[in-house]
Symmetry: C2
Subunit: 201 residues, 2 copies
């Protein structure tokens, strides 16, 4: 029996998702698990939970802004807040699924490049043009990405992934599922690792 | 210069607060820091943040119920949800401050006994009578606690502690502050320890 994958759900507007994106492949490698990257649209999730973006919440927002900065320092990852934060991520997520159907590794490469553009360089990634620009700079074919963003099947795929995540009670970003066990948050990666190492508690 | 204390904010209705209450004194001892226990009323905090009790939220509730059970198993702490959850905690919190003014160690003893009654034994701790019963079983003087619960100064103290916490952007339970640095959640105790060990990141 092959060990199942780690599912990694995120929204490209999620700063903790950015941090986790730089950590999760290492976890997969350490425990012999593939990592399935699954961008979703948190806006639809928040409609189901009644939540709002974390950093714009009273009291909670300032704490998490500070926590993101200190956590990024600890992980030695560059970090900034894009000026247009939180941003629309529908084009970014569609671009991911468009590429994934052809070459999963290219899709992950694009995803990291998009996260880095937003949270390391402060670049607006909310438009189709900016996503194509990031793809091109990452050495990917912007024409293929452009065609994918407009593809009806890709649009439906993103909707289905988001609806499917909500149906499975996935309510935030980053969110990990392995062997049916769910872990919410970048700060739960140590728990995820311990679960994989020990077989669970 | 003496190293400052760890402030430990919590509500007696907080199951993650219960888990943290069994862990935080060990952290204080390991790093030579006193721990100041500070019960507050999350109801007032939630009015400021627009949040609701975690376990009653759609999608998020089921995750956290499961997470509490697995985390308690991992920490080897007994755990159950009281039938009347979430419960009123004004009598419990007042009892704490009433005792603390006389004997801080007794107040901590009562706090742990109240947490254990609720989350290890499933006892309703929402009434004055139940709080006195827990105090008596913990070997504390119920008459002193009873007088304290009705004391005007104690009532004001709880209100001031809650308002003061909100003014400092403390928005959940458990919540830790040390040297001005804030950590939210039982799952951030490892971060708190690392911060104390390293001097911060």
């Amino acid at each position: 029996m092959t060990a199942g994958p780690i599912e990694f759900f995120f929204d490209f507007s999620s700063p903790y998702g950015y941090l986790a994106a730089h950590r999760i492949e290492e976890v997969g490698e350490a425990f012999g698990r593939k990592v399935l990257w699954r961008p979703i649209l948190l806006g639809a999730v928040f409609k189901a939970t009644g939540q709002t973006p974390l950093v714009s919440q009273p009291l909670r927002g300032p704490y998490h802004k500070h926590d993101l900065l200190r956590t990024a320092r600890r992980l030695k990852l560059p970090f900034c807040f894009p000026a247009d934060f939180p941003m629309a991520t529908i084009a970014a997520a569609r671009a991911f699924y468009a590429l994934e159907a052809q070459a999963p590794q290219d899709a992950k490469k694009l995803a990291l490049a998009l996260f880095d553009a937003a949270f390391a360089q402060g670049i607006n990634i909310s438009t189709r043009e900016s996503v194509l620009d990031v793809a091109e700079k990452a050495g990917l074919d912007p024409a293929a990405v452009a065609a994918g963003i407009e593809d009806g099947g890709v649009k439906q795929r993103l909707k289905d992934e988001t609806d499917g995540a909500i149906a499975r009670n996935i309510f935030g970003s980053p969110f990990f599922v392995v062997d049916g066990e769910m872990f919410w948050g970048n700060d739960r990666i140590p728990d995820l690792k311990d679960w994989l190492a020990t077989g669970g508690w």
